[in-house]
C-alpha cells in the first residue's frame, strides 16, 4: 500500500524541511517504521526507548484520529497519515 505521511511542523527539522513523505505499509505502525528508515533522526521524537509512541504525538488517518487502534490501524492504498505534535504556547 502506498501511503502519504504528512509531517507536523515540529517534525520537519528531522526531514530536511520536507512536509510529507511517501511510504509503503499495511498499517500505521509499518508506515511509521518506513518513515524512520527514510529519516532515522525522527525516531526518538516519535518513539520512546521501549518503542512506544510518545504521548505528545497524535496520528490521524484521512484526517480522523487513528485511535483506538493506533499503530495497528490497517490502511488502504492511497490513505493519508498526518503526524502532529501537541503544542501549548499562547
Amino acid at each position: 500500500m502506498s501511503v502519504t505521511v504528512n509531517l507536523g511542523t515540529g517534525l520537519r527539522r528531522f526531514t530536511n524541511g520536507k512536509t510529507a513523505a511517501t511510504v509503503e505499509g499495511n498499517t500505521v505502525g509499518q508506515c511509521l517504521d518506513e518513515l524512520v528508515k527514510q529519516f532515522p533522526k525522527i525516531k526518538p521524537r516519535l518513539f520512546d526507548r521501549k518503542g512506544k509512541l510518545r504521548n505528545y504525538i497524535d496520528i490521524y488517518v484521512n484526517k480522523e484520529s487513528a485511535r483506538p487502534e493506533g499503530l495497528a490501524k490497517p490502511l488502504m492504498d492511497g490513505d493519508e497519515i498526518h503526524i502532529t505534535l501537541i503544542i501549548a504556547g499562547g
Binding site: G8, T9, S65, R67, H82, L85, A88, G89
Partner: protein
C-alpha cells in the same frame, strides 16, 4: 437594550443577516473569561472588546517584559514592568469604553479556578502551558461552560471549540503532556488563532454559523495551510467521559 451610540458603533455588524440587534444585545449581556493576557489573549480580547462583548474578565499573574512585545500587542514598550492585566484593561478601555474589564492578577490554580470563572458565560483558553489548559478544560466541563481552545508554536496554531456534554473536549483529543518551555513564536500566529477564538465566541453568543466543534483546526502559517481533523468524544475521557469523570 442598546443605546443609540451603541447602535451606531456596531451598525456594520448589526446589519449582518442573523446577527441584528438581538445578536448585539447578546454580546452586550455576556461575560467572557479570558485565561491569559499574552499573545492569544491580546488578539482575542481586542476583537471581543471591539465587537461589544459586555464584560471581559481577564486573568494573568505576569508582568510585561520586553520579550513579550513581538506578539502581545495589548502591551506596549511603556508598559514594561506593569501588570499585564492592568496594561490590557487600559488598552481595551481606550478601544471601547463601554466594555467592562475585570482585571484579575492571579495565577490560575486548581484551588481558585472555580471561583475565578464563576458568573462567566464561556472560557477563552489563552494560556501558555498544557497543565493550565487541562485545568480550564476540566473546569469548563464540570461547570457546563463552553470552552474555546487555542494554542501556538512558531508559525503553527490550533483552535477547537468545546461544548460540554455535546462535543469532544480537549482531553478527548490530547492525551499527553509537553514540557513547559520558552517556545518560539512569531506574533502573527497568536493574532490568527486569537481571532479564530474570538470569531467562535461571537458566533456562539449570537447563535450563528457552525462552531469548530468536534473539529481540530490546525494552521500552518509557513505553508499557509489550514487542515481540519475530525475528533470524537471519547467515552473513556478522564474529563468528560462518564466512567472516569472527575479524574485528572
Amino acid at each position: 437594550m442598546l443605546t443609540k451610540d451603541e447602535q451606531e458603533k456596531y451598525a456594520r455588524q448589526i446589519m449582518l443577516k442573523g446577527f441584528g440587534l438581538t445578536g448585539q444585545e447578546k454580546l452586550k449581556e455576556a461575560r467572557v473569561f479570558i485565561a491569559g493576557a499574552g499573545g492569544l489573549g491580546s488578539s482575542s480580547a481586542t476583537y471581543l472588546a471591539a465587537a461589544g462583548v459586555g464584560t471581559l474578565r481577564i486573568v494573568d499573574h505576569d508582568k510585561v517584559e520586553l520579550s513579550n512585545l513581538n506578539r502581545q500587542v495589548l502591551h506596549w514598550h511603556e508598559d514594561i514592568g506593569k501588570r499585564k492585566v492592568s496594561s490590557a484593561r487600559d488598552k481595551l478601555k481606550h478601544l471601547n469604553p463601554q466594555v467592562a474589564v475585570e482585571a484579575i492578577e492571579e495565577k490560575i490554580t486548581q484551588a481558585n479556578i472555580s471561583q475565578l470563572v464563576a458568573g462567566c458565560d464561556l472560557i477563552v483558553d489563552a494560556m501558555d502551558n498544557l497543565p493550565a489548559r487541562y485545568l480550564l478544560n476540566k473546569t469548563a466541563i464540570k461547570n457546563n461552560i463552553p470552552f474555546f481552545h487555542g494554542a501556538v508554536y512558531g508559525f503553527e496554531g490550533r483552535a477547537m471549540t468545546v461544548i460540554p456534554g455535546k462535543t469532544a473536549c480537549l482531553r478527548c483529543v490530547y492525551r499527553g503532556d509537553v514540557p513547559e518551555e520558552t517556545f518560539p513564536v512569531i506574533g502573527v500566529t497568536p493574532a490568527v488563532i486569537g481571532c479564530i477564538q474570538a470569531t467562535e465566541v461571537i458566533k456562539y453568543l449570537a447563535g450563528m454559523g457552525q462552531l469548530l466543534a468536534n473539529r481540530l483546526l490546525v494552521y500552518d502559517g509557513l505553508n499557509m495551510k489550514f487542515t481540519e481533523f475530525k475528533v470524537k468524544k471519547d467515552p473513556n475521557c478522564p474529563h468528560c467521559g462518564k466512567p472516569a469523570k472527575g479524574k485528572k
